[in-house]
Structures are given as C-alpha cells and as structure tokens.
C-alpha cells in the first residue's frame, strides 16, 4: 500500500495541470504583491482577512485538482494499466483519493505561505507590521489551516464525483450546477434547508464565527464535520462503485 501511495503522490505532483496552475497562482501572488507595493501601504495585521478573501480560489482549485486527478486517469485509460499491476481496487482508489486530498491540503498551505510571505515583505518595506503579535499569528494560522481544510474537503468532493462519473468535466459541471443553481434555488424556495448547503457550512467554517450564520444553528466544528461527512460519503460511494463496476476504458 505504501508503494502505491508513494506512486500516487508522485503522479499528483508530476501532473502538468498541478504544476502549471500552481506556477500561475504564484505568479499572480507576486504580481499582486508588486501592485500592492507600488500603490499602497499594506498593513500586515489584515493578513487573516486576505486569507479569507482568497479562500474561494483555493477551494475551486481543490475541487479542480481532486476531480482531475482521477478524471484524467479515466480519460487516458491509465486506470486499466494500473489495475493490471494492483487489482485490489479499494487500495487503488484509497491511495488515489488520499494522495489528492493530502496534496491539495499541502499545496494550499504552501501557496498561502507564499502569499503571506509576499505581503509580509510589502508590509515590512513600505507598510505596517503593527499588531502582528502572537494572537495575530495564531489567528492567521488558524484561518490558513481552515482554508486548506476546506480546499482538501472540496478536493474529496470533486474526486468522488469525477470517480463516479469517470470524467473531470462531470465533476466540474456538477459542482457548477450545484453551487449556482441548486443552492440558489434552495435559498430562495426552501430557506429552512440552508443548514445543509455546502457553501453555507463552508462559509461558517472559514469565517469561524457562528454569529455570522445564525440560520445554520451550529458551531464551527459542526460545520467542518458536516463538510467532511459529505466528502467522505461521496468518496465511499465512489469506492463502492469502483469496486464493482466494469473497467472497459
């Protein structure tokens, strides 16, 4: 299992999509840093808010990386090749999902470190670092970790849907349709169901203050557990389907 897991990690980090997108994000962060440096005096105390403000990018990337890590394999037919080396399908899908989810977590943390580092340089050279004490560091770290956790949870959701649909586009399409259509319909027609919407729970978990989401009537931890449960359910369904369905690609 460890060799399979190591191989899946290697595959994930060798993927062109991951490398190119990560490079583009880093480039974007650097360009943003230069613009901030040139146009304003940045206050580093607002870093947790920056992490929150950019969280949607990392969450979408998490979904994309999770979905494409398995969707691309179905598209290329490499699942067949892999199963002729490791026919225990549960092991295969667990290794793939673990590699995708853990890698998305690590990648999100690393990209946020780059973001924090660039803004720290801005603040140190032409802004303010006032108020960046231990409490600030703890808050920034907590927000950054929550963003990384939500990203990897959504990576799991994307992985699960792409595995069931055997297609990256299916996962992206379902995600888009769910967030844009289903959630808005529920909010408008069945507001009482809002506590079960993914974006509501993700918002609560990221912001970390139940007072901002009074209609959910749950704690930050409960929102995180709910999101994790949805992702786990999808992954279990994907694994169950992968175990029994014919591989004909």
């Amino acid at each position: 299992m460890s060799a399979l897991l190591a191989t899946e990690f290697l595959r994930f980090w060798s993927r062109r999509l991951v490398r190119v997108v990560a490079a583009l994000v880093i480039l974007g962060i650097v360009v943003a840093g230069v613009i901030v440096f040139a146009t304003q005096s940045y206050d580093l105390a607002s870093l947790p808010d920056v992490f929150l403000g950019t969280s949607f990018v990392f969450v979408i990337l998490g979904w994309l990386f999770g979905a494409s890590s398995v969707g691309a394999e179905w598209h290329a037919g490499t699942v067949t090749t892999l199963l002729t080396w490791e026919p225990r399908r549960t092991r295969v899908i667990v290794a793939k999902a673990t590699a995708a989810v853990v890698s998305v977590f690590v990648l999100t943390v690393l990209l946020q470190l780059v973001l924090g580092g660039v803004l720290a340089v801005d603040a140190a050279t032409q802004g303010s670092t006032a108020g960046t004490d231990g409490a600030w560091a703890a808050e920034a770290a907590a927000v950054g970790l929550r963003v990384a956790l939500v990203s990897c949870i959504f990576a799991g959701v994307g992985f699960g849907i792409a595995s069931i649909g055997r297609n990256t586009a299916a996962a992206l399409g379902v995600g888009f349709g769910y967030i844009v259509i289903v959630e808005n319909l529920v909010r408008g027609l069945r507001p009482a169901w809002a506590p079960w919407l993914l974006t509501e729970n993700a918002g609560l978990f990221l912001i970390g203050d139940p007072a901002d989401f009074p209609n959910l009537d749950r704690s930050v931890v409960e929102a995180g557990i709910y999101l994790a449960a949805v992702a786990t359910l999808l992954l279990v369904a994907a694994a169950a389907q992968f175990r029994v369905r014919d591989v004909t690609v």
Partner: protein, 341 residues
C-alpha cells in the same frame, strides 16, 4: 506432471501440463439503455497450457478483449468462470498478478511523462528498481528515446513501451492484446521475434491478434473465437487440418497417366489446374513417389496441400448464411454479434 523442460534466464524450467488460463462457460453481456443487450462472450471454454505461445484469434467484436479483461479482473463475467494461474476470484488475482504481464488494447500510459518515468512509476508498485526499467527499455528498443515524453512517441513506440511495461515484472504469463497494432513491418518482425523468444524461455505468451500470418509464425497453439465462442482450439497443425482431408499436391509431365496410375493403385486423386491433388497425408509421400516411379512417371513437384490459418479462420468465423453480417461480408463489414470492449 512434468512435461517439457525449457531454459529461462539460463535456468532449466520444468513445464507442467497445468493450464495457466482456463475459462468455462464464460459469458459476458452488456446491457445498454438504447442498444439493449450485447453478448460479448457466449459460453467460452478455453484452456491454455503452460509454456509456449498461444494465439487467440478472432475477428473484431468476437470477444477477445472482453476475455482478457475478464481474466485480469477488469470486468466481471455475467456467468461462467475464468481462472488465471489458478486464481478464480478478484481477490485471488491480486495474489498472482505479480506473475502476469499484460497489455490490454492500446497501452494506456501517461503522455506527459517520459517512457522511463512511466515504467518507473509502475515498477515502484511492485518494488521494481530502475536498473530493471533500463534493461526492459533496452530490450524493447526504446533506450534512446527513454527520456522523451510519451506524447512524442509514435503508435509503434507506445506499443513497444506497453510491451516493456508488461515485461517489467519478468512474468511467467504474458497476455498481449494485439501487440503488433501500429507497428511498421520491422517492428512487427521485432515483436514476433520477441514473442518467440519469450515463449521459448518457458513463459506462456497469450497473444490475441487478427493478424493471422503473425500468429501462424509464432504460436504453438491457437484458439479461434467467433461470436463469443471458441470454434477451434489446439496445436496450430491440428487446427489447420481439422475437418479436412490431409493431402498432397503432385506434378508429373504426363498428368493423365499420373492420375490413372494413382487411381489404379487405390489412391484417391484428382487433376485440377495442371496439378494432381492426392488424398493422402504428407507422411505417405513415399507411397505416391513409388507408385508413380513404378510406372516410369517421375515427379517434378510434390508438396503438402497446406491450408493457411487465414483460410481456416475465415471458414470458422464466417457468419451463418442469410444473416445480415453474411450479406455484408463482401463489403468488409464487421460482424454485428458482439462489441469489442
């Protein structure tokens, strides 16, 4: 029970009469919403003995790839059973997969990784090191292009890389699905030689193909598949001669006298196209020679009336008369019974 001894990696290997691949009543149906039921395998019985090259022949849609996918646990049979090196269930396949190398249809590898990287990634799963990867790349003639991205490879090079991946485990049993696909004539000869060599080393090479001349040149035994069933199986010579009178072609200067001499000696023969078709097995050539020579007739030609695999194949896999496929065959139509998956 020991049957044969062959050399493998310099070590003598005792081959037994054990079947390395067995199927019994293997049936696979696909049900699709719009197209209804498609029968890909219709009660296939097959037994592949250990050692040598086994050719698995059939037209497109006969069920060759479906059989291979069943054997490798990629698809579940609707009924019947199949066994690979004695394993019968999916969980048991994991125990023998390390002894089986395979390619299924066009080898699917990561196009944006190099050939070497692809093999290293697969090898890591089975604990195979880089030196073995380098050895295999050399063996399949890709050492010079090993570090190029697979997406820059030709179809033939991808096919060779797929064969390399199958060889990586140094397997006892190789399952190759149309290994000559996309190869140029030189590549086909290389693969043919490789298959012969591997089969001669004591491994079992199970080759599915529709290139009949290739199979005839490499295989010790064949099975011919038609509409999901094996319509012939056994040693190549037996399959070629099955159901027909073994004979010889003879030629003498005075054909009427030659025909008369043979018939008077009780040998069934007929003269067509300037040749005598003698209904005696090639093993009795001396009898023909002596009979004609006793009458002062001397042979200018005597050879077995050989039937090639293509003829047998076309006879055995021809659709039943009156079916749509039969009426379309003249236009090179594919059989409509099954769908190669």
């Amino acid at each position: 029970m020991p049957a044969t001894v062959r050399e493998r990696n310099g070590e003598p290997k005792v081959l037994t009469t054990m079947a390395v691949i067995e199927t019994e009543g293997l049936r696979k149906e696909y049900r699709r919403a719009r197209r209804g039921k498609t029968v890909a395998l219709d009660g296939l019985d097959l037994s592949v003995p250990e050692g040598g090259v086994f050719g698995f022949l059939g037209p497109n849609g006969a069920g060759k790839t479906t059989t291979i996918r069943c054997l490798l646990g990629l698809i579940r049979p609707s009924s019947g059973r199949c066994a690979l090196l004695g394993s019968q269930r999916h969980v048991e396949i994991a125990g023998v997969i390390g002894r089986v190398g395979s390619i299924v249809e066009t080898p699917a590898l990561y196009p944006r990784f190099s050939g070497r990287r692809n093999l290293e990634l697969l090898g890591r799963i089975a604990g195979i090191g880089r030196s073995r990867v380098a050895e295999v790349l050399h063996q399949v003639g890709l050492a010079d292009r090993a570090d190029d991205l697979v997406k820059t490879y030709s179809l033939g090079m991808r096919q060779r890389l797929g064969i390399g991946a199958a060889l990586l485990k140094d397997p006892e049993l190789l399952i190759l699905d149309e290994p000559a696909n996309g190869l140029d004539p030189a590549g086909i000869v290389e693969v043919r030689d490789l298959i012969r060599r591997l089969g001669g080393e004591g491994r079992t090479v199970f080759v599915s193909s529709h290139i009949l001349s290739e199979v005839q040149q490499t295989a010790d035994r064949v099975a011919i598949l038609s509409r999901g069933r094996a319509v012939a199986a056994g040693p190549v010579d037996e399959v070629l001669s099955a159901g027909r009178v073994a004979g010889m072609i003879a030629k003498v200067d005075d054909m009427p006298a030659g025909l008369r001499a043979l018939q008077e000696a009780g040998i069934r023969a007929e003269a067509t196209d300037g040749l005598l078709h003698v209904e005696l097995p090639p093993g009795e050539a001396a009898h023909v020679t002596r009979t004609l020579a006793d009458r002062g007739l001397y042979l200018t030609e005597l050879r077995p009336d050989a039937v090639d695999l293509e003829t047998v194949f076309l006879e055995l896999t021809a659709p039943p008369p009156g079916t749509e496929a039969a009426s379309m065959r003249g236009a090179d139509a594919a059989p409509t019974h099954g769908t190669e998956t």
